[in-house]
Amino acid sequence: MANTFELIASSTVGAGGAASIDFTSIPNTFTDLCLKLSVRDNNGFQGDDLGIRFNSSSSGYSARTLYGSGSAAASATNPNGTSQGFIGPASAGANSGANVFGNSEVYIPNYAGSTNKSYSSDALTEYNGTLVYMGFVAGLWSNTAAITSITIIPLGGGTSFSQYSTAYLYGVKNA
């Protein structure tokens, strides 16, 4: 990892699961944020969506996504409404097969600035060669407040992240 990436905080979900993962009191000393996720949830599907909220806000979100399954591709606008940001098909559901987790990265530039907050994400869930869901998202939180907290939530019908799901929040400084 480049010298300008610094781990701010991380979390690994324990045996009890977690309905959400919240990073609070995020310092404003970096230029950008980079969130790396490896997630599995308790929903009975396979590729489940993940949502993101900034500063516990439940409004002002919009997203454009390009997604596919390996055999077909499509695009959508605000696929899960506007009360949370959309990360994409980033969580492996309970029917994914054992030990399968979805991977995703969310990049949030200028998170501490005074303009609206854009973000980008890439996400995928791969079930050991039998199926894959992947997506790219261009997201926006129409709010000029500096981001001080980030919440990750399951959107695909799951209500809990499974044990061993991880979230790593990095701060990125301009060189």
Binding site: A18, T24, I26, N43, D49, G81, I153, G157, T159
Partner: protein
Amino acid sequence: MPNPTRIEINCETKEEKIITLTDAEVAELAYQAELAAEKKAEEEAAKAALEAKKQEVLAKLGLTSDEVAALLA
């Protein structure tokens, strides 16, 4: 049955807390799950309708899916 829990990590102190959800937060989770199930059902119905339409067209042409695949190979 106790409410589910969430993880909260304070980035300044690095302290991690396991916090029980409020009843309102549990209701929000259930609502999101219901929305997702509805969306999934709509997608499945649209997929089934498209497949039915495809089979209808093939039937009018007097071809099966395997015959079309062989012709296009």
